[in-house]
Amino acid sequence: MKVKEFAEKLDMVILTGEKGLDKEIKKIYACDLLSWVMSHACKNDAWVTVLNHVNIVAVAVLLEISCIILPEGVDIEETTLKKAIENNIPILKTNMDTYEICWRTHEILR
């Protein structure tokens, strides 16, 4: 499923404009330790993290993650947003918690 359709279905706010919305999401991954994410997340994952600083974009770029999802209303830092737009990485925001995001994603991706 494309990021755009995914965001619409789960009623998430897209913070990065039109950038990267045609990327394909194959599954969801949730973790807040960057080294762990680096060695376990996969290409085309949607990644849920409460981290909001700029290095999440570097990790997403290196792993070819489809989009970053900020759960529970976590705010984004301005530098992160700028870097995400530059690198074509969509960032989505929602009030749902990580469990609910993963559960609902499973429902729509299966």
Binding site: L33, S35, W36, M38, S39, K43, N55, I56, V61, L62
Partner: protein, 142 residues
């Protein structure tokens, strides 16, 4: 590729906004060269971890990257405090990162073990008070 491609990067200290730039750039080049994506992922992870280590622990450093038809060689060098006990530093879960750095999602004590895991050859040299040099080699051919 008959000739090797040599790249040099400055890794700025304490600038998380730029940390990962060198690894991202190397990833782009390897992609353009048509290298197998699974190998690119290993190079990216190993180099990113080494780059982050230089930023977190050593106020930055340099990265020398050489790509030839057989392998990618990455040498990341810093003039930081050095590592007193490398064996201890190599243990998963051991970290000397500050609380502030941990809050950013780093400092899990997985950096060096990850580098070793994803390299075909890994060498580390460190002198306390002088700095640390990490050499990563990843073969491009099976």
């Amino acid at each position: 590729m008959d000739n090797s491609l040599k790249l040099h990067y400055e890794i700025p200290g304490d600038d998380f906004a730029l940390a990962g730039e060198a690894s991202s750039n190397v990833k782009k080049i390897l992609t353009q060269l048509g290298v197998n994506p699974a190998i690119i992922k290993r190079v990216s992870i190993a180099m990113y971890e080494a780059e982050i280590n230089a930023v977190i622990h050593a106020n930055g450093g340099t990265a020398e990257v050489e790509i030839d038809s057989n392998k990618v060689t990455i040498i990341i060098k810093d003039e930081g405090p050095g590592i007193p006990d490398i064996e201890l530093a190599m243990q998963e879960g051991y970290s000397t990162a500050s609380e502030a750095v941990r809050e950013l999602g780093f400092g899990a004590g997985m950096g060096l073990p990850n580098i070793k895991k994803y390299s075909d050859n890994f060498e580390i040299e460190s002198i306390v008070g002088k700095g640390t040099t990490v050499k990563i080699e990843v073969w491009l051919k099976p």
